[in-house]
Every structure is written in structure tokens, then in C-alpha cells.
């Protein structure tokens, strides 16, 4: 876990300060893809060699769908409440400005 946060922090500083010259910037994309490729492949190997996961793939899919549905629905609910607050706040500000004039 620590490696992730440290690597992320170092990466963001390298990116922000543009330490890597522009002509090599394509290579960061290739490196990211290479790392992702290795991890996706080994994740696949672990799934393929785990009979428990393969046997339960249907159940896991249903669980995943529920998690996705709830994350979408609840983030919509929270943003709906926020949007109302933001808009009524804006109107309030406009009203005050109107009163002064």
C-alpha cells in the first residue's frame, strides 16, 4: 500500500514539474500500459487458477451489478440535493443584488 502512495506522489511531482522532456512523454504512456498489462495478466492467471472464483462467477457478477447500481443511484441522490442547494444559493445571491439595485 505504501508503495502505491509513494509512487503516486513521486509521479505527480515529476509530471507537474515536467522533469521528463516532451519528446519522451510518449514513453510514460507505454510504461503505464506495460505495468497495467502485467497486472491484468496476473490477475487473470489468479482468477483462472482459482476454482472458487470460477464456480462463483455468476454470483460475483450479481454482487458487482448491485454495487454499481447503488453507487450510481446514491451519488445521483446526493448531487441532486447539492444541486438544489447550489441553485437556491445562487438565486438568493441574485435576489440580494437585485434588492440593492
Amino acid at each position: 500500500m505504501t508503495i502505491v502512495l509513494v509512487a503516486l506522489g513521486i509521479g505527480m511531482l515529476i509530471g507537474y514539474w515536467q522533469i521528463i522532456p516532451n519528446k519522451y512523454s510518449r514513453w510514460t504512456g507505454y510504461l503505464t500500459w506495460f505495468g497495467l498489462f502485467i497486472l491484468l495478466l496476473t490477475m487473470g492467471v489468479r482468477i483462472g487458477s482459482d476454482e472458487k472464483i470460477l464456480a462463483n462467477l455468476g454470483t460475483l457478477g450479481v454482487q458487482a451489478f448491485l454495487l454499481a447500481l447503488f453507487s450510481v443511484v446514491f451519488s445521483v441522490i446526493i448531487l441532486f440535493l447539492l444541486e438544489h442547494y447550489l441553485i437556491s444559493y445562487q438565486k438568493e445571491e441574485q435576489r440580494k443584488v437585485g434588492e440593492k439595485a
Binding site: I47, D50, L67, F74
Partner: protein, 200 residues
């Protein structure tokens, strides 16, 4: 891109099922740790280079940050409730939610740090989130609210679901979607490892 990701996992799955013995996997740990370091370093560089976001931030003011914060809150609330329904521990459901639709990164992080089964659910759940977002956005934008239509996409609101928001809710919502998606994208590699390691 999506098919390349799914294809790679499936090739890995076939190798694991037929060819690679399980005991070899434990010896791969150093290689995957190195791959994770490289991946996250690259992700960090790309996020750091993205200075466009600061310009757009100034255009809209600080209050726009409430949008990604609201999406974080709603997502974690939603996945925690769903997790409770399917009897999934909080650290797993919260970490899966914190993928915010970025299925490749959240899945490999969880599979590497935690276990392959939860990584599988994280992959599927975040793929489903992107698909549901594409289906929901037009409805949310017209019936519920323009800014609210930024919510379903999560981190994908800065790239794959951005055109859907812009088309259904207009360019100003598109600008908010980009900023919100960029902030959530930055939060994925921070929140997923933190949440999956939570012991409650």
C-alpha cells in the same frame, strides 16, 4: 481499449486455468510489485501533467469541488448499503466503490493488495458503473438535473462518459464533469489502497 483490457484478463485466465501451476504464482509477487510501482508512477506523471484542471478550476470557483465530494459521499454510501445487503465487509465494498468506474486500476490494485476474488468483483462493478452511467446520463440530465448528470460517471466523467454529459446537459455541465472526473481519477489510487486495508 476496453476489449484489450478484457482480452488480457481472459488470456491470463486461460493461462491460469490450463498452463500455469498455482505455486508459480507466489513467485511472481516481486514482478507484480514492480509492475504496480511502474503503473502507479506512470499514472502519477499523467495526473501531474494535467494542468488544464487548475485553469478550469479558476473559471468556476472553489464551490465546484462540492460535486466530486458529493459523488464520493454518495458512492461510498451506496456501495456500503449494497455491501450490507450482500454481506460484504465494509473495507471491500467501500474500496470497490472508490474505483469510481475506473475498472482497470481499481481491479488490479485490489487483486494485488487484497485478493483476486474481490479484484474480480471490483472489475465487474466498475465496468457496470460505466455502462449504467451511459444509460442513466440522458435521463438524469433531462429529468433530475444538469449538474446531477455528472454523478453516474464518477471518474469516467473526464473521458469516456464526458461526451454523454456534454451532449445531454450542455457545455457548462461538461466543464464541471471534466473537473469532477479529474479529481475522482486522482482519488482512485489514494482511496482504494486506504479503504481496502481498513479493519473495522
Amino acid at each position: 481499449m476496453t476489449w484489450l483490457i478484457i482480452g488480457t484478463i481472459m488470456v491470463g485466465g486461460a493461462l491460469g486455468y490450463w498452463i500455469i501451476p498455482a505455486n508459480l504464482l507466489s513467485q511472481l509477487d516481486q514482478i507484480t510489485s514492480l509492475a504496480l510501482g511502474i503503473l502507479i508512477l506512470g499514472v502519477g506523471i499523467e495526473l501531474g501533467q494535467n494542468k488544464e484542471i487548475w485553469v478550469k478550476f479558476k473559471q468556476l470557483g472553489w464551490k465546484v469541488i462540492l460535486v466530486p465530494l458529493g459523488i464520493v459521499l454518495g458512492t461510498l454510501l451506496g456501495t456500503t448499503i449494497a455491501g450490507w445487503l450482500i454481506k460484504m465487509p465494509f473495507n471491500e465494498s467501500a474500496a470497490i466503490g472508490a474505483g469510481f468506474g475506473w475498472y482497470s486500476l481499481s481491479a488490479v490494485l485490489i487483486a494485488k493488495i487484497y485478493n483476486a476474488q474481490t479484484g474480480t468483483v471490483a472489475f465487474l462493478a466498475n465496468v457496470f458503473r460505466e455502462v449504467l452511467a451511459i444509460l442513466f446520463i440522458p435521463f438524469v440530465a433531462t429529468k433530475i438535473g444538469r449538474i446531477t448528470s455528472v454523478a453516474p460517471g464518477g471518474a469516467t466523467a473526464m473521458d469516456t462518459t464526458l461526451p454523454f454529459v456534454t451532449k445531454a446537459a450542455g457545455p457548462e455541465a461538461g466543464l464541471i464533469a471534466f473537473i469532477s472526473g479529474a479529481i475522482l481519477t486522482t482519488l482512485v489510487p489514494i482511496l482504494v489502497p486506504l479503504l481496502i486495508n481498513l479493519k473495522l
